[in-house]
Structure formats: structure tokens, C-alpha cells
């Protein structure tokens, strides 16, 4: 087993969280303390930008850049929101991270909050993660008592409060603008910017939203510097480590913190224990349900935002779902589209109407009632879904489009044999 540096998981234990004391012993809250005493909020933004910290929630937007879009004269109170909704199928890294080292996230939120000069912090969390919500509430209180939260943090004059906001469960709440609506007690429909949330977010105030893993990287960048962070990656273009949540047909499904740019083959064979007996790698969804199937040809690809983008794929959340040669990808895609059709908020037409249509075509194919013309119909319908308001629908058709790109033969076998060839 390769021995890679563990940054986000350095205090991870089998059965319990790291305490505040343990987190501090590993250098925790040093980054914050240095930043508050020596750096301006602009310098914090710049350090995060220099570190090329890209959003780990799937969109890969530079975290430093996002903080910079909050205008100097923007009104207060400002909000820093931690997106702990994590409802992308296959993704469970944020859950593991919170259960490993909650103070790392809390420190990251304070740093990001300082960078945005925000007074209010909110952690938006899905109901399935109730145990994580309880941990966070308890540890926030402990951080407050230690002087890391509340008024005049560490004597710096900067103040921030953090609360945990429980959701009642809906995939679309993970989308930035939908999440803001949900937080304001409205139906969680996305809104097409402008205005951008960093300009007018919660209650018309600047709001910066970051993923759990993105925030957890921040204390380490502040403490060790942007160059150190960039060097953690194996690729030139990458920076930092990445938590890969691996599931499906591997021997050891779970979360692995590995350098950005590590090869897919290594993740599967070395870290996730290899394919289960009798299974061969056929494809994976490399970053959640809204990424494209990655077939055998890409088995050795370096898992980094840039290298993936260069070959027309997305790293997404780094949730690798592995499929073997015995799994029908038409049926798998049908399952994925069923998920998206159910979870669509229904606000805009292409998504609300298009997904059930695609699901129906896939179901007929899977049940052996497919026609040749369904293939161009699937392609055309998928294209229409790109004109929806938010990224939900383009994500939803990623498996469909890539199914036809890479596995058209398998789709055709369903048509010619008048049945699913895997049954």
C-alpha cells in the first residue's frame, strides 16, 4: 500500500470523533489563529486562491475566487453556509469527514467566514445525517467555550456564530440557489443567477456557500501555505488531497484520502481492495450520479479536475461507483434516471417533462420493447435537458449520454434480442 500523507483524515479513528484537544494537538486552530492575528481577510482570500483550492462539492469553482466576489462595500450581515446536504448518489465523504474530525470543518468555516467578513454561519445538513448534526451542535458549543466562535474570536475583533440547519430531505437542496431558498423557508426551487448568492443571497445579503470537504482543506492551507497544498497533488494541474468515496463491485468500499491526480486503477486495485471475485471492471461513475460513465479505456486516468475535463468527463464529488461486466448499464441508467425524475423539483419544463420521458424509453429498452429510433430520441431529449435553469438536468442526463457514447452496442443488443441480455 502506498503511503500518502493524510491531511483531512489525519485524526480519523475507527469508532469515534477526534476531540478538540486531539485536533489542537495535530495543529488544529493554528491556521485560524495565525490568520486572525496576522492576515487581512483579503490575504486569506488570496492564499486560498493561490492554493488552487477548487470546490469539492462537484462544481470545482475556485474557493478563493468565490470569497473575492463578495464586494468590499457589500451590506451586512453576511453569511457563510456549509453545504453538508451531500445527496449525490454514491457520495458519503462529508459524512465520514464530520464523524472523523468535526473541528476541522468548524475551523474551515471560521476561516471562510473571516474571508467573507461574515457574521453568521449555517451548516445545512440532510436528515439522514442526524448523528453528524448532533456531533456538530455539541462541538460548536465546545468551540464557543474555547473562544473560537462567538464574539471577538481569539481577541481579533472578528465575530461569528454557527448554527446547524436540518433539512427534511430533498436532493435539489444541494444546489446552491435551491439551498438558499430552503434556508429561507421557501420551496427549494433553484433560481437562475444573476444576482449571484455572493451578491444577494440569504435575505438579500452576501452569502458564500462551500462544501464540507472544501472548508476542511482551509485550515491546512492557512497553516502550511499554498505551495505545500499544491504539492500534495500528483499532477501539475491538481492541488491538495481528495477524499474518494468508493462503492459498488470492490472488496473494500469506503472513503480514501488520496493525492489529487491519483490513478483510477490504483484507487480501485490498491486502496479499495480490488474488484470482488469474479468481477471485472466495466465502467464507473467517477463523481456521483451526475457524471458520465468512465469505460475501461480510461481505467488509468489521473483523477484530477483538469485531466478529467480534458477528456470530456467530470471529477464531480469523487464518488466512484464501480460497475462490473455482469451489470447491465441500461438497467443501471434506468435506476439513475428514476432517481432524477423523482428528485426533480419540477420548476422548469425540460427537467420535469424530459426525465420521465427518458425514463420511459429506458424502461422499454430494458424490458425488451425498445426500437431502433429510441437511440436518437434519447440523444435529442438529453440535449433538450441542457436548457433547464440549473445544473440538475444536465447532470441527470450525463449517464444517459455516456451510455450511448460508450455502450451503444449494449443498448442495441437490448433491441435486437428483444430482452435484456443480462437476464
Amino acid at each position: 500500500m502506498m503511503n500518502y500523507p493524510q491531511v483531512l483524515f489525519q485524526n480519523r479513528k475507527a469508532d469515534r470523533i477526534a476531540t478538540l484537544e486531539e485536533y489542537r494537538q495535530s495543529g488544529g486552530y493554528e491556521g485560524l489563529s495565525d490568520a486572525l492575528s496576522k492576515a487581512s481577510h483579503k490575504e486569506v482570500q488570496q492564499v486560498l486562491l493561490d492554493a488552487v483550492l477548487l470546490g469539492r462539492g462537484g462544481a470545482a469553482f475556485p474557493a478563493g475566487r468565490k470569497l473575492m466576489t463578495v464586494a468590499d462595500d457589500a451590506p451586512h450581515p453576511r453569511y457563510i453556509v456549509c453545504n453538508a446536504d451531500e445527496m449525490e448518489p454514491g457520495t458519503f465523504k462529508d459524512r465520514v469527514l464530520i464523524h472523523a474530525d468535526p473541528h476541522m470543518l468548524i475551523e474551515g468555516m471560521i476561516i471562510a467566514g473571516y474571508g467573507a467578513q461574515a457574521e453568521k454561519g449555517i451548516i445545512f445538513i440532510r436528515p439522514e445525517y442526524e448523528s453528524a448534526a448532533i456531533i456538530l451542535e455539541r462541538e460548536i458549543e465546545i468551540a464557543e467555550k474555547a473562544g473560537y466562535l462567538g464574539k471577538n474570536i481569539l481577541g481579533s475583533g472578528y465575530s461569528l456564530d454557527i448554527v446547524v440547519h436540518r433539512s427534511a430531505g430533498r436532493y435539489i437542496c444541494g444546489e446552491v440557489t435551491a439551498q438558499l431558498n430552503a434556508l429561507m423557508g421557501k420551496r427549494a426551487n433553484p433560481q437562475q443567477p444573476p444576482p449571484y448568492p455572493t451578491e444577494k443571497g440569504l435575505w438579500e445579503r452576501p452569502t458564500v456557500l462551500q462544501n464540507v470537504e472544501t472548508l476542511a482543506c482551509m485550515p491546512h492551507i492557512l497553516r502550511n501555505g499554498p505551495e505545500w497544498f499544491k504539492k500534495l497533488a500528483l499532477t501539475e494541474t491538481g492541488a491538495g488531497t481528495k477524499i474518494f468515496s468508493v462503492s459498488g463491485r470492490v472488496n473494500s468500499p469506503g472513503c480514501y484520502e488520496l493525492p489529487m491526480g491519483v490513478r483510477l486503477s490504483e484507487i480501485i486495485e490498491v486502496h479499495a481492495g480490488g474488484m470482488v471475485e469474479g468481477s471485472e471492471y466495466k465502467a464507473c461513475l467517477p463523481g456521483g450520479a451526475s457524471t458520465r460513465f468512465l469505460p475501461r479505456d480510461f481505467y488509468d486516468i489521473e483523477m484530477d479536475f483538469d485531466t478529467m475535463r480534458n477528456v470530456g468527463h467530470r471529477l464531480g464529488t469523487g464518488a466512484i461507483m464501480v460497475f462490473d461486466q455482469k451489470t447491465c448499464l441500461v438497467a443501471a441508467t434506468l435506476n439513475l434516471v428514476e432517481f432524477f425524475a423523482r428528485e426533480s423539483c419540477g420548476w422548469c419544463t425540460p427537467c420535469r417533462e424530459g426525465l420521465p420521458y427518458i425514463r420511459d424509453l429506458l424502461r422499454r429498452l430494458e424490458e425488451g420493447q425498445g426500437e431502433e429510433e429510441y437511440i436518437p430520441m434519447l440523444q435529442q431529449m438529453s440535449k433538450h435537458l441542457w436548457s433547464s435553469y440549473c445544473a440538475f438536468a444536465p447532470g441527470a442526463v450525463s449517464p444517459v449520454e455516456s451510455l450511448i457514447t460508450y455502450f451503444e452496442d449494449e443498448v442495441r443488443e437490448h433491441i435486437s434480442q428483444r430482452k435484456c441480455p443480462f437476464k
Partner: protein, 162 residues
Amino acid sequence: MIPRELKESLAQHIASIDHPRELVVDVMFAVQDHYGYLSDEAVEEVAELLDMSPLEVEQLATFYTFIYREPVGKYVIHVCDSVICWMEGHESLLDHLSGKLGINLGETTPDGMFSLLPVCCIGYCDRAPAILINKKVYGPLTIEKLDDILEKLRAEGLTPSI
């Protein structure tokens, strides 16, 4: 009607924050905990507490997976049917559950003990196939393990609470 104590503590919490409406999910959960589900009466009570219209509450109540607008059993079983659990055999789990409890998805056993509902990926793909019972996760499951869990819950559910 919700008990006066609960109403007062919710009202107090609501009065203490800048934007009361942000508490709507919390209030729905609290009232749902009291009734077991969010009845029509409950929707109106939530609306009144937050100075919203019942319709505004209704469109949220029907939007979220974990708000129940119909009566549910003592134990609500959410069966994950997303892609990894599907691949690891969620269908046979569901068939078994359905057969054993004698109910389909969306139904509750006549004794009011169990409800069966589908749920999308619950974020426990490393423990697939997985289910939630009253928000607690169980997995990776086999038919045998599932039987054990159901038996334990049934025994627990039949014990009168003091």
C-alpha cells in the same frame, strides 16, 4: 391541538430569531413528532406559529421526504433504491419486507407498527444494501439480518412505554 408547553417553547424559539420562517422545517418536525405525522390540523398550527398561510406550509410539507402528510407506523422503514443499493440487491430486500409485513411501498401495517417507503441514496453506499428505520441506518443487510431487526423492533414496539 399541540400541548401548550410545546406551543410555547416553539413560539419562544421563533420570537428569538431574525427570520422566523427559517425555522419552518424544525417546527414541522417538532409538530410531526407530536402527532406522528403532519395532519391537516398540524399544518394549520405550523402556519399560525410562523405567520405563514397553510398553503405555504403545505407546499413544503409535500416537498420533503421526511415530512409525512399521512399517518405512518411506529417504525418508518425507508428502503434505499438508488444505484449502489440496487446493484447490491435492494429489490430482494424490498420483496422480502413487503411479503413479511404484508404491505406495499407507501403502506402501513394494520397494527400500526411499520410503514414502508422508498428513499433515494442515503449516503451509506459503503454499507449497501442499506435502509433507514426511524432515521437510523442498517447495513449491509441480508434477509437474515433484516428478519432479526424486524423481530427486535416488533418486541420493542409491543412493550408498553411507561
